[in-house]
Each structure stands twice: as C-alpha cells, then as structure tokens.
C-alpha cells in the first residue's frame, strides 16, 4: 500500500483585492504513511491550514501535485472525500440547530444511516447535550461536534487541524485515545497541533513546516535524533577542575549553573573513566536528548510571523 498523502511542490498565493498577494505555500512537500498518526507542526502562519484546505479542495492550489489515498486531487476529490473525515481550523456550525440535527443533516447528505450519528455522539461524549442548540455549546463542545462530524463517515483518513483547541485536559486525553482507536482500526490520522508534548506522545512521524516549506520530516525518533548533538549533563564536586580535565581530554565543555554540559562525546563511560582517573567522582551523568519543543524551536528559529 502506498502513501496516504503525497504532496509535492505545493504552492499557494492568496490574492486579496485590498492587500495584494500573500504567499502561503512555497513548494511544500509532505508524505504521510498509512496506519500512523502523523504530526503536522509549524509556527503561526506557516501554512498548515492552507495545506489542509488545499488538500480538501477548499482552496485552489497555485501549483504542485497532490495525491490522497492514491488518487490525484483536486481532480478525483469526489471519489476520495467519502473516505476522508476532516476538521478544519475553528470549525463552526449553524447556531440554531442542535448538535444532533447538524449531524443528521450531514448524514443524510452523505447517505449514512442515522444510527451512526448516535455512535459518534457517544464517541465524542456529546450525547448528553446533543439536543442543545450549537449556539449554546462551549468552544470545546463545538470542537467535539466537529470531530463527531468528521468521524461520521468512518474515514480512512482523518485530518484534524488543531482539534485540541479549546479542549480541557480530559478532552485532550479523550482525543488522544480516539486517535489511537482510529489508527488501531486501520485508518491514518494527520494532526496539526501546537501542543508539542501531545504530538510527541501520540505521533509516529511528523512534518515540520515553516514559511510554506518543509523543514524536516520523518519518524519522531529520527527527527529528535537528527538534532541530538551528543550532549551530557555532568555533576561533580569540583566543576572547575573537572571542566579542565575533560577539556584537556578533548571534550567540549560548557559550564552551567550547577553542572557541566559536555558535548562531542559518544560514550558516556568515557566521561566517568576520565574523571575517575583524576579522583573526581561523578554524581550525576545524563544524556541531554532534545524534545520536540526544542527541535521545533531550533528548526523554525526565525520569527514565526514575518512580513
């Protein structure tokens, strides 16, 4: 089975009458493999929502090629949309209808039995409020309704643009479980989010975008490893002497508040051995592995919102 999403050289320039053109995507590439939760990260205004909208046929691309579920889009969109569930940024619904009615109308449009409406209401935990008007929903409840509408089709590909927006901690955890369930059922999830801890926990792979271009992509572990500079945190009784010893032995040492940061070492045992040879006893030695947040900030270093 091929990739679920393949994007090559996607371009998009928004043209507005008043403010002139604004380039949102500048040759963006992305590949999402099946059966994964794929994280889609990038600073504000980097083009995530634009990418997702283009993929879904809401926005007309300015160039590039896209394939979703093996079909070229937007050409074959009609064939693939029944298999894609999507929540686009800050979803909204007609305020005077109840959540249940909103979903039922969609189900009728899509030829889905109304039984499924009750199922998805259960999944997102909206059953108790299903007959309330959407206008009276909280932000998080609207978000849940949006997810419910995306799940209605029992999609093979679930696209979620900031689904955690407005969700409470329990909601975020439910969302995580939900994504796991979806993937366990054989589907693929593309998740755009700013909650990097969440992404790191749940995602198998990520794509990071900045200024409309891909800056890195791959399995989360690989992305993290790519930024691993082999740093260790070393705590000793006499940091000054230890620093001198290690530096003499060929390591790069940077003193920090109450410890030393040692770089350019492949084997941590070497540090222990070297220091022990000089009667310096290591109290603590931990590798500094980058987390997604630091990688993200490193890769998207420039100011997020630039002119």
């Amino acid at each position: 089975m091929g990739s679920v999403i393949e994007i090559e050289g996607l371009r998009k320039t928004y043209r507005t009458l008043l403010h002139g053109p604004r380039q949102a995507l500048d040759g963006f590439d992305m590949v999402v493999e099946p059966g994964q939760v794929h994280g889609f990260l990038g600073p504000n205004g980097s083009g995530k929502t634009t990418t997702l909208r283009t993929l879904l046929g809401l926005v007309r691309p300015g160039g590039g090629r896209m394939r979703v579920l093996g079909q070229p889009v937007p050409h074959a969109l009609a064939a693939v949309t029944p298999r894609i569930g999507a929540v686009v940024e800050s979803p909204q619904f007609f305020g005077n209808f109840s959540g249940r009615r909103t979903l039922r109308l969609l189900a009728t449009t899509g030829g889905i039995p109304h039984r499924r409406v009750e199922e998805v209401l259960d999944i997102v935990g909206l059953h108790g409020r299903a007959n309330d008007r959407v206008k009276a929903y909280s932000l998080g409840m609207r978000q849940r309704l949006a997810v419910a509408s995306a799940l209605l089709k029992s999609p093979e590909l679930l696209i979620l643009d900031e689904p955690a927006n407005g969700l409470d901690p329990a909601g975020i955890r439910e969302m995580r479980d939900l994504m796991r369930d979806v993937v366990a059922a054989g589907a693929t999830v593309l998740l755009s989010s700013h909650i990097l801890g969440e992404v790191q926990q749940i995602c198998d792979s990520v794509t990071i975008i900045a200024h409309g271009r891909r800056v890195t992509a791959g399995p989360v572990a690989d992305v993290l490893a790519s930024q691993d500079k082999g740093e260790f945190r070393v705590k000793v009784d006499d940091p000054a002497r230890a620093a001198a010893v290690l530096a003499e032995a060929g390591a790069v040492v940077r003193p920090a508040e109450d410890h030393l940061v040692v770089t350019g070492v492949t084997d941590p045992a070497w540090v222990t051995r070297t220091l022990a040879g000089q009667d310096l006893w290591v109290a603590e030695l931990t590798p500094i592995t980058p987390d997604l947040e630091s990688v993200f900030l490193q890769l998207t270093d420039e100011p997020a919102v630039s002119a």
Binding site: R53, T81, Q92, F97, T108, T109
Partner: protein, 337 residues
C-alpha cells in the same frame, strides 16, 4: 438527491423560514380581516333602500337635465338672473348629465365579489410571496456561509456546482410548495369571505384567469428566491442580498425615478424593474408618457405605451441568467477560507 432531501429538511428546520412563513400568514390574515370588516352582503332592507335612493337620484338627474336643456335653448338676455345659465354655461353638453345613470348597486353597502377582487388579491399574494422568497433564499445560503455550514458541506460534497444547484433546487422546491399551499389557502379564505360578505360566484373563465394570475405570482416568487439566493451566495452572507435589495430600491426605483423625472425622459418606467414586475403580474401594463407635454405650445399630446408580459419575461430571464451565472462562477472558483 440525498443532498436535496437534506437541504429541504434544513430549509424548513430554520427559524428564519418559519418566522417568514408565519409573517406572510399574518399579513394575509390582516388583509382578510379588513375585507371581512369593510364588506357586507346586502340584506333585503339594504336592497330596498338602495333601490329607493337610486330612484330618487334618477328623478333628480332628470330634473337637472330638463333644466339644462331649457337653459341652453334660451338665448341669454343681459341682466337676467337665470340660475340655469350660471349652472350650465353656454355650449354645455346636457347629455353628460345622463351619460352614466346610477344603478341600485351604487347605493348598496360595499360587498366583496370574488370575481372582481380576486385577481388583485392574488397579485398581493404574489408580492408577499416574492418578498418571502427573496428573504428566505438569501438567508438560506447566506447564513450557511457565515456560520461555516457551506465549508462543512463542501467537505462532504466537494463538487461545487452540484452543491450550489442542489441547494438552489431544494430552495425552489420548498418555495414552490409554500406558494402552492398558500395559494390554496388564500383561495379558500377569499371564497369564504366572498360567500359571507358578497358573492363568490366565479365563471369558469374567471377561475381560469385567477389561476393564471396565481401561476404568474408563483413564478415571480421563484425568480425572487433565485435572485436572493444567488446574490447572497455571491456576497457570502445574507446582508449582501438585503443590502442589494435596499440599494436597488433607493438607487434604481426612487433615485432613477427622480432623475428621469428631472431629465423629463421619455417613458421613464422602462428603466424601472418594478414596472416589469407589475407588467408581469398584470399580464402587460399600460403607462402614460407625458414627456411630450412640456415641449411645445401645443396642448399636451401624451401617449399610452405598454410593457407586455413577454417583455417582462425577457427582462426577468436576463436578470436571472446574469445573476445566477456570476454567482455560480464565483462559487466554483473562490477559495473557501
């Protein structure tokens, strides 16, 4: 088909539609109430007193006629005070007095005759339904745009032309249904009114022409709904269509009328959409052109001219084609953000 079914449900589930339906109903009820109050079926006593009054009027008129003839035949003598000569100046055509003899009917209390009043009342229904169609059509897609409903719908139905047409189709089906139901209700109401407050007698021909008026009224309603829908879709909110309607009234009906009046333009009505609406509802309308009146020393030589129903249809179809084409094109092309 599934789309049309869902959209029909949506149309009638909307509060705006329901309020508008009730609003039209209340206005119709108001008209019916006024008819009920102001009309009466003549009683035998009414008929008798009307007959007496008519007889009396006839006698008075004959007397006046005689006076007139006398006054005309006499040559006016200077100094003579002759009341007849004052009342009827020389050269007065005495037959004018007897030209329109009054009948008993002139002295009866107002009564509601379906055959006579029906067409106008069905035109009133048409005007109300057209307003209803326009507003409901505009809000049907306008509110969906501004609430994000269209975006969600496009995630289910990415082909935009069928979405636009399907939604319009459901709207027109719904409005047609309302038009038919309200026409039947209106006919029943008018019949009951006429039966109690006048005469409900209707010849087959009169009934047929009433039905034709109704067909025209419903056609107008469908056109209004389509235009409201298309303009609202173009602007992506309801306010655009309502704004366009207000702008049309202010600029094209009132403003243009004033300017054309100042310019003393010939046949100003031909530039006003309302004339075509009127001509459509009345199966052709006559207008008096008095622009020539002010031009020379000669007395006014105004002319009557007509807008035919066919011309109205042509104007309507043109408007419809242009508005829907632009709206659909924009719906297909523009980004949904």
């Amino acid at each position: 088909m599934k789309l049309i079914r869902a959209e029909l449900v949506r149309l009638f589930a909307r509060r705006f539609t329901r309020i508008a339906l009730v609003g039209v109903l209340l206005l119709l009820a108001g008209i019916a109430t006024v008819i009920w109050i102001t009309n009466h079926k003549p009683t035998p006593a009414d008929r008798l007193s009307a007959h007496i009054a008519a007889e009396q009027a006839l006698t008075e008129r004959n007397a006046a006629y005689q006076q007139c003839v006398d006054a005309q035949s006499r040559t006016p003598s200077p100094g003579a005070t002759d009341s007849g000569a004052k009342q009827f100046p020389p050269g007065f055509d005495c037959h004018q007095i007897t030209d329109y003899p009054s009948t008993d009917a002139d002295f009866l209390p107002a009564s509601f005759r379906l055959a006579a009043a029906g067409p106008d009342l069905f035109r009133a229904l048409g005007a109300l339904l057209a307003l209803f169609g326009f507003a409901v059509g505009a809000s049907f897609i306008g509110a969906e745009w501004s609430s994000g409903g269209i975006l969600t719908l496009l995630l289910w139905r990415p082909n935009r032309t069928p979405v636009w047409l399907g939604k319009l189709g459901s709207l027109l089906l719904g409005v047609l249904g309302v038009g038919v139901v309200y026409s039947v209700l209106w006919y029943a109401t008018l019949w009951v009114l006429a039966d109690n407050r006048g005469s409900s007698a209707l010849t087959a021909g009169a009934l047929r022409s009433l039905a034709l008026v109704d067909v025209r009224a419903i056609t107008l309603t469908l056109v209004a709904a389509t235009v409201g829908y298309a303009v609202s879709a173009l602007g992506r909110n309801t306010a655009t269509a309502l704004g366009a309607a207000v702008a049309w009234v202010v600029i094209f009906e009132v403003g243009t009328r004033i300017i054309l009046g100042l310019m003393n333009a010939a046949r100003p009505e031909r530039w006003l959409l309302s004339s075509y609406v009127q001509a459509w509802l009345t199966n052709g309308a006559r207008f008096f052109d008095e622009s020539k009146c002010h031009n020379g020393p000669d007395p006014c030589v105004g002319v009557w001219w007509r807008i035919s129903a066919q011309q109205s249809a042509l104007v309507g179809v043109t408007l419809l084609v242009v508005v829907t084409a632009v709206s659909l094109y924009s719906f297909r092309r523009r980004d949904v953000t």
